[in-house]
Symmetry: none
Subunit: 399 residues, 2 copies
């Protein structure tokens, strides 16, 4: 089923959809209790949504595939997570709300340390402070031929480089050898149209080396993840929606911006996010609400904190329900089991609560209950068509 | 999800995977008991693997499609069973460990009987003995122009012909009219580049007819299934595995060889196969163990013998478990219900046992229990990505 088909039957209506994404929601059992984080959490409000809704387990990319944040979210937004390629440079840029332009070649940069012979001694320049980083980046801004090079600090040793000009291509190799004791690799073109970009990137690196020569530990740069902003059809174009994103982390705001969502200012807690939802509720018909904490706790291997973060969301569910949205979806972009301390490939508990959802026998929101749900085990790309259908925003297909 | 994606994220690690294939595992209920062969079998060890693992029903090719051995196994090895075309000639050749070379055009041959007018009287030459076959085949070896023709006996009236030379193509028609009372069909080219092959095949047949003229009942040959070895990327290339195959039947060794597995010498029983596994356990990180008996019993319509063959495997499961592999997969290449006496289209009970598999509520290994398992009903092509993920051999996909 393609987005083209959905586009051909989507219509604008007054109904409203809320897509609530608990980052890293899915988990694995604590060996001592046999319960996952979600199963251990006390979540009467989500249980109620599940009981009245229809549940399943969503698969972001494919069986066995552990998704990064970008494919996890493109799938949730209804875009083919394999066909849409969001490079590391782009992701780093959207993660700092970098004002990228179409055609920019973006890269993730590291300040690093090199010795007198130019061999890398520390790929992260001793993790210099973000403040120092912010003073170094402006020194590296320059123009080479018709290409303007913009350098923006991220955090510690990390920065974003944008090459802005005509005829640029991201088909160039990375300079980071992922090793110490060797010099950075030169950039080489891997397609004929990338010759200019490779040449300019190498010149940028050479000039930067000169600029940084007395700045040990940050006396050199490494570049990787050269990529261009993907040109995606917007959610407005495909779904006839007026969508908004509420997210405390810039990366998720950036991913939402790539598909044409308006980005709403919000605070740092889930309560703040719900306050933002209330404030703008009348202005949009689709809200993507992103909550980062379950993933962060999972990555830290902190089972209890992940449980608490899920409970934190549950306490605000009544505030969402009281707005009377037509469709509430609760899901995640991937699993992040605390026992793995990492993203994982496991399917994600997902519920769709709506008046005509055809509810199933599921009475609680959990991995094991969702397995017996009415949605089965299904690709995450199907969530948007299902949400739209349940909001009665899709017309009949075919005569 | 493509093999390209898997290839891009696979990494070599020290973890080990065992893929145990019970040929024809799936079944149908005995009408008297309502239990399938697997459900009737006493298999405490497989039940235990299922209880601690995650289960499902795998579909080799598609709903309603009854697979032959070749597509059944290509799917299990993670290759598209429809995209990968293994012709009958190739299958016959790999089935006798024939040392095929890239570019060989292989065909399955039959000795047949013809009358004075050249009309076929018996398509199988009265099923001559394998011994007689073995004396006739060498008589037919010859060279025509730059093409060497190698003829290798199989069983009874069957043999393999390999045309080895430059510029050959398998795009030629078969000679077997599948009828008696008519002469064999001439070979004709069905693509322009096959003209040479067609001419040489016809010359080979004509010369063979002369050689065999006094050998009634085996006084003529029929050729079909012209095909070339598919060039498949190896499991090493795609999965970064060092794979080995343990199989008592040559056809399965041949299929494993097509995807680059090392073939380990073994005996004739499942115990022999497990002894082989133990002997080579340290030298590989992936073992395909093939056990033929359940399929053979199913084809014979012998329900009880199929039950026994499954129990035979179960008795050796502890020996496998004691090696502490990271992932154990137990599945089949297709169903072979004794009540049908044939391969069938029914999904196949499949279990994956691994520390991070996210176990389900299944407590026994059976068709009915697997239907409620955490893997759902899923394409057999997904088994390899799932096994690799569970062995922590796949890195994150996407930024």
């Amino acid at each position: 089923m393609t987005q083209e088909l959905i586009r051909s039957i989507a219509r604008s209506t007054s109904s409203k959809i809320i897509l609530l994404v608990l980052d890293g929601l899915g988990g694995l059992p604590d060996p001592r209790t046999g319960k996952t984080e979600l199963e251990a959490a006390n979540i009467p409000n989500m249980d109620r949504l599940a009981r009245l809704g229809v549940c399943g387990l969503s698969v972001p990319v494919g069986p066995g595939i552990t998704p990064g944040s970008a494919p996890g979210h493109t799938a949730l937004f209804g875009y083919d997570p394999v066909g849409v390629n969001i490079g590391r440079g782009v992701l780093e840029a959207v993660g700092i709300d970098f004002p990228g332009e179409r055609g920019d070649v973006l890269a993730r940069g590291n300040f690093c340390s090199v010795d007198r012979d130019g061999n890398i001694t520390d790929r992260r320049a001793g993790r210099i402070s973000t403040e120092l980083n912010a003073t170094l980046c402006p020194l590296l801004e320059m123009s080479i031929q018709d290409v303007r090079i913009i350098v923006a600090p991220v955090k510690e040793h990390r920065f974003v480089v944008a090459f802005r000009g005509t005829g640029l291509s991201p088909d160039i190799t990375e300079t980071d050898p992922q090793l110490t004791g060797v010099p950075p690799n030169p950039v080489t073109a891997i397609s004929p149209q990338a010759a200019k970009t490779a040449r300019i990137a190498n010149q940028f690196i050479e000039i930067s080396k000169g600029i940084l020569k007395d700045k040990l530990p940050a006396n050199m740069v490494l570049l990787r993840g050269f990529s261009q902003m993907p040109h995606l059809p917007s959610m407005k174009e495909i779904y006839q929606l007026k969508p908004a994103a509420i997210a405390t982390y810039p990366m998720y705001r950036g991913l939402a911006r790539l598909v044409g969502m308006d980005i709403l200012d919000t605070g740092t807690t889930f309560e703040d996010e719900i306050a933002t939802l209330k404030k703008h509720y009348n202005s949009y018909d689709f809200f993507f609400i992103h909550f980062k904490k379950p993933d962060a706790a999972g990555e830290d291997g902190d089972f209890a904190r992940k449980v608490e973060s899920i409970e934190e969301v549950d306490r605000s569910i009544p505030a969402i329900v009281s707005l009377k949205p037509d469709v509430i979806v609760v899901t995640g972009d991937h699993s992040t089991p605390a026992v793995l301390k990492a993203h994982s490939w496991h399917p994600i508990p997902t519920l769709i609560n709506a008046p005509y959802c055809r509810t199933d026998a599921v009475t609680e929101f959990s991995e094991s209950a969702c397995l017996r749900g009415g949605l089965g085990i299904f690709p995450a790309m199907h969530i948007m068509p299902l949400a739209l259908a349940n909001a009665l925003k899709l017309t009949k297909y075919g005569a």
